[in-house]
């Protein structure tokens, strides 16, 4: 029985460690701020991610040179964005996206050097957790039940007295 519990404790610990690593990675590389947060807190740093929707009628510039200006809107605030970087393939008005760059408090604009995908990590994580956690519980429950059954059969001494049967229960 102990081997069963040891095995599953290892799996559980591994899962927790992975979850911690994943959430750390998410916070550092994938999480994005809203325009309201940027305007309110004036964050410093060169790789700030901001998520918002390109406001209608504000997109100007040349796609080919990769130099564009638009307004990025959140729930209440609008962020003027100046983008200079690789020519974006599918930058349109009314599209939600992530801009990566710096915030200039003096001019109150956001200078972006890259665009990011709006990734639906929530759905991916939900699906994997919904599949793997019940699966783990199910398999653990089965293995535990089998161990208990082997132990019960051994203890109730239901074997032939002549030949001693070695019941290998973990």
């Amino acid at each position: 029985m102990t081997r069963l519990y040891v095995r599953w404790s290892v799996i559980l610990v591994a899962g927790i460690v992975l979850a911690a690593l994943a959430s750390q990675y998410h916070a550092r590389h994938l999480a994005a701020l809203t325009p309201e947060t940027v305007v309110a807190t004036s964050p410093t740093g060169t790789a700030i991610r901001v998520i918002g929707m390109v406001q209608g009628g504000t997109l100007e510039g040349e796609v080919a040179t990769g130099s564009l200006r638009f307004q990025l809107g959140g729930a209440h605030d609008v962020l003027p964005v100046q983008y200079q970087g690789p020519p974006p393939e599918n930058l349109r008005e009314l599209k939600t996206l992530v801009v990566i760059g710096r915030w200039i408090p003096e001019t109150r604009t956001f200078v972006a050097h890259d665009l990011g995908l709006v990734a639906n990590y929530g759905f991916v994580m939900a699906a994997y957790l919904a599949a793997l956690i019940p699966l783990g519980l199910f398999v653990f429950g089965m293995e535990r039940r089998v161990s208990l059954l082997y132990r019960d059969i051994k203890e109730s001494k239901i074997y032939e007295p002549e030949a001693s049967v070695h019941v290998d229960g973990t």
Binding site: N120, V124, A130, V139, E143, V146
Partner: protein
């Protein structure tokens, strides 16, 4: 006293389980970290790496249930009945998981939690048939009759599934001309590798779960029989000489 087949299952289950774990960990790494997001669907395509293997394994498990049911009616081996029962339980679980992950995948992709697609409806019907099978098995008192009825139910249910699929397919083309853009996934090699690894891992996992669950059902029946809780034939396969009773290995 415990059948040789069961002892062999117990000896080899570790290998299958270990191989399954290895494949799954590799597949998870490949699917979640190493592979790129899809051109159309973005990150959400990663759900496919868990949804598709679940669906395939659920169907494989149902096939095992069908085969084991026919085998049971032919040979009346109680362990084969345990195998069928085990396959049904696992298939029900995997079907439910496939439906849930499919629904979670559908929401960001097609903006709807459910669509009356032929495959999804067939899966839902398959789940209901399996649930009915498992319920019925708990309501029958005599184990030998339970095994017989269950085998018949599994065979009739299996025969019905293709007809269900076709009828829903026809019905759907009548009422929902493809308004949902069913853009597929760009099947590149980068998508195929994690998918195959996860599929192999889930198939091995199914094999392992089948071995464990068959043992569980067999041992439960054995314990009941030995403790005299069964009034009719024990309907358990055993090996070796019994003290005082006849071997009841076949009906």
């Amino acid at each position: 006293m415990i059948s040789l087949v069961i002892k062999r299952l117990q000896r080899y289950e570790g290998w299958v389980g270990g191989a399954a774990a290895l494949c799954l960990v590799t597949g998870l790494y490949l699917g979640l970290i190493a592979s790129p997001p899809d051109y159309y669907q973005g990150e959400v395509v990663r759900i496919m790496y868990v949804h598709v293997p679940l669906a395939h394994t659920a169907m494989l498990a149902y096939g095992v249930l069908f085969g084991a049911s026919i085998w049971y009616l032919w040979k009346r081996d109680p362990i084969v009945d345990n195998l069928a029962h085990a396959a049904a339980g696992i298939s029900a679980f995997f079907t439910a998981a496939a439906l849930v992950t499919g629904s979670i995948w559908a929401k960001p992709t097609w903006n709807t939690w459910w669509t009356w697609d032929a495959r999804l409806v067939s899966f839902a019907v398959m789940f209901l048939i399996l649930a009915g099978y498992l319920m019925m098995r708990t309501f029958v008192d005599d184990p030998e009759r339970e095994a017989r009825y269950a085998a018949v139910l599994a065979i009739v249910g299996f025969a019905d599934l293709p007809i269900v699929h076709f009828s829903v397919e026809w019905w759907r083309t009548l009422h929902q001309p493809l308004s949902i853009s069913m853009r597929g996934v760009s099947m590149s090699g980068e998508i195929l590798v994690p998918l195959s690894v996860m599929s192999t891992g889930f198939t091995l996992l199914f094999g392992y779960m089948l071995m464990v669950r068959t043992q569980m059902l067999y041992l439960t029946r054995l314990l009941q029989a030995k403790k005299g809780r069964l009034l009719s034939h024990a309907h358990v396969a055993q090996s070796g000489p019994q003290v005082g009773s006849q071997p009841s290995s076949a009906h």
